[in-house]
């Protein structure tokens, strides 16, 4: 094989002629995000499009490129980085990716890429389409909520007779990937395990062998890492005078976990008290704003009319509003109900549930209690949100670094282990 010279963003690189561009770039120290690419599937699937690069300004899927002499490829221009980030956000918005409740969290390629690109929230509205979890196969469980339709499993699992074990069904936004029940029953445990590992997300699970591993042991945890996450430009308020700032917090449709996390900076709290004072907040039990507030921290999304009013009240009274945690950012666990109709949810909770006493089968309603919304809304679909801090809950370090940056212009880095969706 001939070694040739090619160029990534004008930097000369070397690789064997004909080598896949994603691999060749990696060998030269440039990581190009990829999801559907799987080295020995040829021709490449080219379905996810998160690897988009450009040749002479024309977009190309990096996984479908081969290295040739003199090839010049743009990879890390600001536009291309932003473009790839948008595609990843699109994938999140399209599926139902509840990271905190996913067996593959920490081992998931999609989640990992999202960390690497510093995604804090999706610019696209989540579709919350109802998708099923298929328990019909004998040993596999197929969770359609998580499938990104990469087609890896379809290409990889073909019987000796040439029969497909997996296949896409329907088309367009209704496409889903299914497994053949008869063929699945004939596959060995070893093959099924391989299927589970081959799936870049948590859509293929093997009963009893699903991947949940302790926090810290997972593929992408990198607990010791000092690598930082490339976030959007930290807000530069360094010109502001250094005086005591006012903070307010709220918990909407959340579990108070984010508030617990805020308290988790331990002794740091004492330093913080020197710098800020708290206004309306469950921490102070102040119910109404007593003055204009510099920063409002919102935990939880909006699941009822009171949440909406409260959030709008915060927006009116806070200069800067921050969504803290997955629930505020896109609905989080409470949004699991978004794929189910409100009617079915209420019936299940109040009418059919075994814990309701027969005599009290009623859906609560009274003018004094808030109305339930048709679905759980992320805060930024209700009011303008200035910043998003991901995590379930976000780590205390992450929260306070961001707050200090916003209030005092303190430079900060969010290191890898502090940036999580679960």
């Amino acid at each position: 094989m001939k070694t040739v010279t090619f160029y990534i963003d004008d930097l000369p690189c070397e690789a064997e002629e004909g080598k896949n561009f994603v691999d060749a770039a990696a060998a030269n120290g440039v990581v190009i995000p990829s999801l559907c690419y799987y080295p020995h599937i040829n021709p490449p699937l080219a379905t996810c499009r998160v690897c988009t690069v450009a040749i002479g300004g024309q977009p190309r899927a990096a996984c479908s490129l081969k290295v040739s002499e003199g090839l010049r490829v743009q990879v890390n221009t600001p536009e291309l980085i932003e473009n790839r980030k948008a595609i990843l956000e699109l994938i999140f918005a399209e599926g139902n990716h509840f990271c905190p409740a996913c067996e593959k969290s920490g081992d998931c390629d999609l989640q990992h890429l999202a960390y690497e690109s510093g995604i804090t929230y999706s610019r696209f509205p989540h579709t919350f389409v109802e998708r099923i979890v298929d328990f019909q196969p004998q040993r596999l469980v197929i969770d359609h909520n998580r499938c990104i339709l990469c087609k890896r499993c379809i290409e990889e699992f073909v019987t000796d007779q040439g029969e497909k074990v997996f296949s896409s069904h329907r088309r367009g936004s209704r496409t889903e990937v299914n497994v053949d029940y008869d063929l699945e029953a004939e596959m060995s445990d070893q093959e099924l395990t391989r299927a589970m590992h081959l799936c870049p997300v948590g859509a293929i699970l093997l009963r009893g062998k699903s991947e949940s591993r302790p926090f810290g042991d997972r593929k992408y945890d990198k607990l010791e890492s000092k690598e930082t996450i490339p976030l959007d430009q930290p807000i530069d308020t360094s010109a502001l005078p250094l005086q005591k700032k006012v903070v307010a917090t709220a918990s909407l449709a959340g579990c108070f976990g984010c508030h617990m996390s805020m308290l988790d900076i331990d002794l740091g709290l004492l330093d913080l008290i020197e710098l800020v004072s708290f206004d309306k907040s469950p921490l102070t039990d102040i119910k109404r704003f007593s003055r204009r507030v510099d920063i409002g921290l919102i935990e939880g999304g909006c699941c009822n009319s009171e949440n909406i009013e409260n959030l709008e009240y915060f927006r009116e009274n806070c200069d800067i509003l921050v969504s803290v945690g997955e629930c505020a950012i896109w609905g989080g666990l409470p949004a699991m109900r978004n794929t189910i109709s409100l009617e079915a949810c209420l019936q299940e909770a109040y009418l059919h549930s075994p814990v309701t006493e027969n005599a009290h089968q009623i859906i609560p309603n009274h003018e004094d209690i808030p109305k339930i919304l048709d679905r759980v809304y992320p805060c930024h679909e209700v009011v303008k949100i200035d910043y998003h801090i991901p995590g379930c809950p976000p780590s205390a370090q992450h929260i306070w670094k961001v707050v200090q940056n916003i209030l005092f212009g303190t430079k900060y880095d969010v290191i890898y282990p502090e940036f999580k969706y679960d």
Binding site: Q161, K164, L183, L342
Partner: protein, 570 residues
Amino acid sequence: MAQEEFLLNKLWKIQLQEGYVSDKAIRQLSRQYGRSWVDLEGVISFYHFFSRKPTGRFIIHLNNSILSEFGGFPEVLAAFQESTGTRLNHTDPTGTFTLKAASCIGLSDVEPAALINWRPFINLNPEKVHHLIHQLRSGTDLDDLADRPLSDAYPNTDPDKQLMIKTYQPGTAIGKLPEMTPEEVIREIMEAGLTGLGGAFFPTHLKWQSCRNQPEATKFIVCNADEGEPGTFKDRFLLQKYPGLLLEGMITAAFAVGSREGIIYLRGEYQYLLGKLEKTIGQFREKGWLGRNLLGIPGFDFDIRIALGAGAYICGEETALLESLEGHRGEPRPRVYYPTEKGYLAKPTVVNNVETLCTAARILENGYEPYVNPAAPDSPGTKLMSIAGDCHFPGVYEITWGTTIGELLTRCGAVDPYAIQLSGPSGELLPASWVGRKLGLHDLRCGGSVMVFNRQRDLLQILQNYNRFFLQESCGVCTPCRAGNYMLSVQLRKMERGLASTEDLDKLEEWAKLMEYNSRCGLGQTAPKAIIQAAARFPEVMDQHTRTKNAPFDLDLATSAYDRIINELR
């Protein structure tokens, strides 16, 4: 080569005989084709016209393209629902009628139109629908009721340039082949400057030459008769009027390339043309124009089969078409090989549009000289335009490249035109005031669809119709198109409800560009084009649908479901 029946043709037989594809049928197909259940289910569920559930005796597919919508789709649908006693996507309790909507069925000049058991019914209105359903109920034969749509033809105004719409004398074109070498045929096509008339304008002689150069012995000629772009019906016109010319074009291509087998991929919507096409093929065989040593040329063996599509616009994309021919889901292949390198069954394959092949035959017949066009050297010859919408004379027009938009609007008798959609929703949305712009490679490219919209038409309604079309027709293989169309629909709906801010309009454009940039095939790359062009070319209309300030959260809407449930409980 083993001639296994095309899977889709087989599925059609089952669908037509039994009204659906049953579990039993799948099991049998699984044995016959050696393919797994999940695989076959994947193929069947890809195509709009195959059903896995029993259907009524009459399956009605009402076209929902924008021209149908403007022509009275809502009223016609209501009439169908009332007279059949069923709703969209349902079958009536007696099992007589199944009602469905379909993307453009190639009858834009006679909208609203529908297919009933895949026979055409045109110029529908509520009275006609009621009458029709009554007749069907009382046992009148469907074939007696069906319309025979033949579009009005308007030959070129310049008599020297009437190259396509004119008398056809069977055998004249291929009659030249015995005196020619394949190289000479390709040179003739090159001199005429023929480029692909399916819309991509790739030089035909290069495609043929490249296929000819491949060392493999087996090569295929595939005619793309999938004409799915909303607003186009010129290929249907050619198939109806000049089926022999098409066959001659394919024979010419086969001679040039060295192929022994041709396939016509006919869209399922056009299966009422199947009979005539098959008859013509039969006549050609009898005359020795298809078969062995045809035209007396020793060793020139060539025959043609027809494969039927089944309701998937994407199968017009050539690599998706090849997948479909192979009995798979019509998903475009990743761009690694050209079909001329690895096409049908991984063999070198020429895929050409109906009009391209017909024109190739005409070139052989007329010689290349009349095609040379000094006024627009890059766009020689003539082009068929399917013109429909708000004009007095919808139909198929032959035009010389270089014709202006103004001339086109005058010829078709456009009424108070405001906007024009060229080449369908994936093409160009332009203001009708661009009268001086010229059709041709150098200015406005056009695959053959022209839809005229008058001043009363709502641009947002047009964009939403296109968006629904692409949402329905995306194959779903790549993220930007599969999910992007949905995201655009959310923003368009916001505009429709008057809840979009200027920021939302920016997002709409930004997301549209994201789709255009990242999608894998032409469908996703062009699906958002009309939106981008509307924002650039009709800013005043887009602004009408946009609030300047951020719209408040719509609490009433978000709590309406709860209010309804509580009310119903009382």
